[in-house]
């Protein structure tokens, strides 16, 4: 049996080698199909992982609450355009919802940041100390501010990497330096470790953190004390996120005295939801690309079937001879199936090479991250085997069912 299969493979290779151009053109469909699958999945996986990394930079088990637009007399205001979210809201949430492990808040503005002769215009966030914890920010030097800094409205600042690069000379130590934000002097007590791009694509390292109270009272000149730009809370367990979000909604609606039909004047987003939206996008893309790849695999398979049908017809007499000397239907079936498999597997392997190459080139040229997993390669290989078997079966069966007398007589 082994000798039979081995010799059949050799025969198949020889037959295909005789019609190299024909075999090559036939394999092209499979090559393109498998290559496309590999390249697409690699790009998709790369994108997915990049998104997951970005989502992880938000923190762990985070829920965000933003002020929403407010409708006054039928006129819709801009999002965050009214004071609908306050420190008191945040403290109430902390008090009323035991699921929340941390509660933090922030207020945002864009200001001129000056160090000596250098300056930078960037986002300045007045934040509660817990906000830094919730967002999982770590420090490349120095440390965070404390509750005491918060209570005393201390003029201390934490700088993001981008800000440091723009207002300090390379090699200059920022911690301990005095910088000015909107002409108010601040002592730098910590430099944040870089986080890179956010899910929305903004530079998260282009930021200065100062205590919320300091921002409110000494820098921003806030009109309404206690109004915040966003509340960030976290839970111990990921499973609790949805429950906690719902409880937050209830508490907030009650506090804001919203009646049954009135829309929320705030927006709640959990980290999981954001992740799902992002993954959904990349998954839709992957599915679409997979469909395209499947179509070309299908076309490749049909090509194989076509060329095998031609081959069976061309070699009718040979089939008759083989049958006359004792080939059973099974032998003929296997012979043509192996020919189909040889086409699809050789095509598949070339396709895998092309796919890997295409993925690498995408990374090198376009700079997109790609991940070529062995699973993808294995699946693509299995696909090409399945295509060969599926589309080889009909011609092979046709050959195996020939009548030996008629086959021998075929001219």
């Amino acid at each position: 049996m082994l000798a039979f299969v081995w010799l059949t493979v050799i025969t198949a290779l020889r037959v295909l080698g005789r019609n190299r151009l024909r075999a090559g053109l036939t394999m092209l469909g499979i090559i393109i199909g498998v290559g496309a699958v590999i390249a697409m999945v690699s790009i998709g996986e790369g994108a997915k992982q990049a998104v997951q990394k970005q989502i992880a930079t938000m923190g762990t088990n985070v829920i965000m609450i933003w002020p929403s637009y407010m409708t006054i007399g039928g006129v819709r205001g801009a999002q965050g355009g009214a004071v609908t979210l306050t420190v008191a809201d945040a403290l109430e949430l902390k008090k009323r919802i035991p699921l929340l492990s941390e509660t933090g808040w922030l207020i945002r503005s864009t200001m001129q940041i000056v160090n000596g002769s250098r300056n930078w215009n960037g986002p300045v966030h007045g934040v509660s100390p817990s906000y830094v914890t919730i967002r999982d920010w770590s420090f490349s030097s120095g440390g965070s501010f404390t509750q005491t800094d918060m209570e005393s409205a201390a003029r201390v600042a934490l700088l993001g990497q981008t800000v440091v690069e723009n207002i300090f000379e390379p090699g200059e130590e920022p911690v301990g330096a005095i910088i000015r934000i909107k002409n108010v002097p601040f002592r730098v007590i910590g430099v944040l470790s870089p986080k890179g791009q956010s899910v929305q694509g903004s530079d998260q390292d282009d930021v200065v953190f100062i205590p919320f109270t300091t921002a409110e009272r000494k820098v921003f000149g806030t009109l309404f004390l206690g109004s915040v730009g966003g509340v960030f809370v976290s839970t111990e367990r990921t499973e609790d996120l949805a429950d906690a979000a719902e409880q937050i909604r209830q508490v907030m609606r009650a506090r804001h005295r919203l009646q049954g039909e009135q829309p929320d004047d705030f927006t709640i987003r959990t980290q999981v939801e954001i992740g799902k939206v992002q993954e959904g996008t990349s998954e839709t893309l992957t599915v679409m690309l997979m469909i395209i790849a499947s179509v070309s695999l299908l076309v490749g398979g049909i090509g194989i079937m076509n060329i095998l049908l031609v081959s069976v017809t061309e070699r009718t007499r040979e089939i008759g001879i083989r049958m006359a000397v004792g080939a059973k239907r099974f032998h003929i079936l296997i012979q043509f199936l192996i020919e189909a498999l040889t086409l699809s597997v050789v095509g598949g392997c070339i396709g895998i090479l092309f796919g890997v190459l295409a993925a690498r080139l995408t990374t090198v040229i376009a700079g997109w991250p790609t991940i070529i997993s062995s699973d993808t390669v294995a699946v693509a290989f299995v696909f090409s085997v399945v295509v060969g078997l599926f589309f080889g079966l009909y011609p092979a069966n046709k050959a195996a069912r020939l009548n030996p007398i008629e086959a021998l007589r075929y001219e």
């Binding site: 049996m1 039979f4 081995w6 020889r14 001879i321 049958m323 000397v325 004792g326 059973k328 099974f330």
Partner: protein, 236 residues
């Protein structure tokens, strides 16, 4: 010992559209082991149909055919293939070698389907080629061989399995006189060594090599008689 071939009232009826063609109409024939039989007849006489049935390529519509004591009429296609592989060697008018494949591999073919180890296949096929005088041409492809040589490869392929029956269908039909004599000499030699040979031909001088002559006409046996054969003449 029972006869090699026992055909009893063999009928073969084809249906071509609405027309029924009776290719064989009650043929009964018995052939003993070691015989050299020529089946003669003009085209359309039914001799090819008879040969196909005797060679287990086809089955009778009606009647019985026992080969080596086994009733062949009801066997499935794969069982027929196995019988052809084990017991029958074919030699065709148009050689029917597999193109672009060496003489050795062509001669190996029946052993290949027997599932013998590759080495054994090669040894047996080489020996068969040597027997038909093609030593040294094992690796020639059919196009590199003359007609006579190609037919010798076909004979090697037929005898490589040591079959109990060798069926030759117009084996010299595509050959010149000299090659024809060569081929007939080989068949005669094989018969002398004990192989049963059935020769289908319409040429009288080819049929003369056989020791028994069956004439078929209109699907029936017209005559069946022993001839003296000329085995001694060719050896010289």
């Amino acid at each position: 010992m029972n006869p090699l071939i026992v055909g009893e009232d063999i009928w073969k009826v084809y249906r071509v559209g609405d027309v029924e063609v009776q290719a064989l109409r009650g043929v009964s024939v018995t052939i003993e082991r070691g015989e050299f039989v020529a089946i003669m007849g003009s085209s359309g006489s039914g001799k090819s149909t008879l040969m196909n049935i005797l060679g287990c390529l086809d089955q009778p519509t009606k009647g019985g055919y026992r080969l080596n004591g086994v009733e062949v009429g009801q066997l499935r296609p794969d069982q027929l293939a196995e019988i052809r592989n084990q017991q029958i060697g074919f030699v065709f008018q148009s050689f029917n070698l597999i193109p672009r494949t060496s003489a050795l591999e062509n001669a190996q073919l029946p052993l290949f389907y027997r599932g013998l180890p590759l080495k054994e296949q090669r040894t047996l096929a080489s020996a068969a080629l040597q027997r038909v005088g093609l030593k040294g041409r094992e690796h020639h492809s059919p196009t590199q061989l003359s007609g006579g040589q190609q037919q010798r490869v076909a004979i090697a392929r037929a005898l490589v399995t040591a079959p109990s029956l060798l069926l030759a269908d117009e084996p010299t039909g595509n050959l010149d006189t000299e090659s024809s004599q060569d081929i007939m000499g080989i068949l005669e030699g094989l018969n002398r060594d004990g192989m049963t040979v059935i020769l289908v031909t319409h040429e009288v001088d080819i049929a003369a090599y056989a020791s028994r002559e069956i004439v078929v006409k209109d699907g029936q046996i017209l005559s069946d008689r022993a001839t003296k054969g000329r085995s001694h003449a060719v050896g010289a």
